[in-house]
């Protein structure tokens, strides 16, 4: 928030226009044009064949599922699906692709065009961000710069199906623009939620399966023309996306206000030092010498196919969020829960079993999310199931355990996979709600703390809290807090 305000303040009469270019590796088993494994990892150069190595005489054949995934994603992003589409070659000489060209889609007929995503701005407004195109291409290999003179190349990723999603910045298309780092991050959060919901991409930014290359320019607010833009690379987390864009906007404004000129270039985000630095001048578009890929045939989609894909879409995060809100969840809680489909699924199951959506949301968004983040586990790998969470909350409700003990019980459930009842019974952590048992402790605490007891009687209401704490300490936190309160008040007044 602070940093947002700072940018705004420094931006003064300037506004930023941010275009988002996102690459998502598709969750197919095999590569785009050959049967090599598309799975992440693997020893270098062990998932390669003549096609993805670009050996002479080899011919590519398109992966049906990859095409379907892009039609699916484009549909979910409210795109128009082109009835006929084909591939192009983008020619460039850089050893990350062995063929000296990348197979991609250029021009007016990518699979999807003219779509949009709705985002909520930090100020509480709503923006409909246009999507200019969604197209299919192949990923490149990985270069490792091992010495000052040489680089090693691993072609395992070369040819993995890659979907590119580009936002629309032309206001004539009738959509809103992304103007701040926070909006850019929100766009990415929503996009990631949709893609992972569809199961077409795993959305792991740190593994590079979801990559974001924003292009950024600034201009005097209200100007009809755009400033010179720069493209940012190496943003490997949502945080880096936010910080990188924010830095770059500020840098451009400072460059202009100090009389300099922004250069059209690619800049690399340095996460450690929090700065961007020049990476390379952009090759001009025409220098990629795009032309239709002669080794691959065009695709045509029947209306019935497009309808079938659209009809088969799952409930999307925005729809799920609305439904959660209808069950009484706050907008913010529903938004957090629906950013991750596994989490949303877990929550909904637990809420259905237990019945109180609000109570379950508190546990899922609080302790569950905290433990997931701490352990790095994913929802499926956690020891807690929707059933066991619902059962634990019931133990709190029927007074078997206190809310405080529930926290440690939940943590143990998370780690061991045991049920709350098992844990509680094994450790004797059940709540003490027996009046006789508690009364002994209450009396002892009062006699041990006569001065504080006197303070309370003298009208110092706060002193009661201390005495409750003492009873809790003596019972290892197991005393029923409501009962302790009642008993303490009664005993203190009687002794008056």
């Amino acid at each position: 928030m602070t940093s947002d305000t700072q940018t705004m303040a420094q931006a003064g009469p300037y506004e930023a226009v941010i275009g988002m270019e996102v690459h998502a590796e598709l969750l197919t088993e095999s590569k785009m044009f050959c049967a090599c494994s598309a799975e992440f990892g693997g020893e270098p150069n062990t998932r390669c064949c003549p096609v993805c190595l670009g050996l002479p005489g080899s011919l590519p054949v398109a992966n049906r599922k990859a095409v379907e995934f892009v039609v699916k994603a484009a549909s979910a992003l409210n795109c128009r699906i082109n009835r006929a589409t084909f591939f192009h070659r983008k020619n460039y000489f850089y050893p990350d692709l062995p063929k000296a060209y990348q197979v991609t889609q250029y021009g007016d007929t990518p699979i999807g065009i003219h779509g949009w995503i709705q985002i909520e701005t930090p100020e509480g407004g709503v923006k409909r961000i246009g999507i200019r195109r969604v197209h299919l291409e192949e990923d490149t290999g990985k270069l490792m710069h091992v010495s000052p003179l040489t680089s090693e190349v691993d072609y395992n990723r070369s040819g993995v199906p890659l979907m590119e999603i580009v936002t629309e910045h032309d206001p004539r298309a009738g959509f809103d623009q992304i103007n701040t780092a926070a909006e850019a991050r929100e766009y990415l959060v929503q996009l990631r939620a949709i893609l992972t919901c569809l199961g077409v991409c795993d959305g792991k930014m740190e593994e590079g399966s979801l990559r974001c290359e924003p292009n950024i320019s600034v201009r005097p607010a209200g100007s009809a023309t755009y400033g010179t833009r720069t493209e940012l690379k190496n943003l490997n987390s949502f945080r880096a996306v936010f910080r990188g864009i924010e830095y770059e906007v500020r840098r451009q404004i400072e460059t202009i206000t100090s009389g300099g000129k922004v250069v059209h270039e690619t800049r690399r985000w340095d996460d450690e030092n929090g700065v961007t630095a020049t990476m390379r001048g952009k090759e001009l578009e025409q220098e990629y010498r795009y032309f239709p890929e002669p080794d691959l045939l065009p695709f045509t989609f029947e209306e019935s196919y497009i309808e079938a894909v659209r009809g088969g879409l799952p409930e999307l995060p925005s729809q799920k969020k609305l439904r959660f809100c209808e069950r009484g969840l706050s907008d913010a809680d529903a938004a957090t829960l629906t950013q991750d489909m596994a989490l949303a699924g877990f929550f909904e199951q637990a809420a259905e079993i237990h019945g109180d959506w609000g109570k379950v949301a508190t546990w899922v968004l609080g302790d569950f999310l905290r433990l997931l983040n701490q352990s790095g586990a994913d929802v499926a790998g956690a020891g807690v199931t929707p059933e066991s969470l619902a059962a634990m909350i019931r133990l709190v409700e029927d007074g078997t355990i206190s809310g405080k003990i529930a926290k440690s019980v939940f943590e143990e459930m998370f780690k061991t996979g045991k049920s709350a009842r098992e844990i509680v019974e094994a450790s004797g952590q059940t709540q003490i709600s027996d009046e006789g048992e508690l009364l002994d402790v209450v009396r002892r605490v009062i006699s041990e703390n006569e001065r504080i007891a006197a303070d309370f009687r003298g009208g110092k209401e706060k002193s009661l809290g201390f005495l409750v704490g003492q009873v809790m300490k003596h019972t290892g936190g197991r005393a029923n807090p409501g009962l302790v309160n009642t008993l303490l008040r009664r005993e203190l007044q009687q002794a008056d």
């Binding site: 494994s37 062990t46 992966n63 050893p95 710069h145 680089s151 691993d154 065009p298």
Partner: protein, 100 residues
């Protein structure tokens, strides 16, 4: 259309070719001859001809998604001018300021 020596230099940079001044001059001449030869095609009237970017009347050719083992790594690296035991080795082409 005629290529200038500067344009040829730029194409050489994109193709990672190191050309000396004499080569640039000579190749500019060669390339211009080629372009001139092809430019005769412009004389044809193609106003009524559909653009043809493909010659086969076939569409929608797919393979089903399914992974198969690739080549053994020795075979993958066998054709490389230079390789380590696990990777191709190329001259270092870093993303420097000028992209060269």
């Amino acid at each position: 259309m005629k290529l200038s020596v500067e344009e040829v230099s730029n194409v050489a940079v994109l193709a990672r070719l190191a050309l000396c001044e004499e080569e640039k001059q000579r190749l500019t001449g060669h390339l211009n001859e080629i372009i001139e030869h092809f430019s005769r095609l412009q004389d044809l009237d193609t106003a009524d001809v559909e653009p043809t970017d493909r010659v086969l009347p076939v569409v929608n050719v797919y393979r089903e998604d399914g992974a198969r083992p690739g080549l053994p790594r020795e075979a993958v690296l066998a054709g490389a001018p230079e390789a380590s035991d696990c990777a191709f080795i190329v001259p270092r082409v870093v993303d420097t300021a000028d992209g060269k």
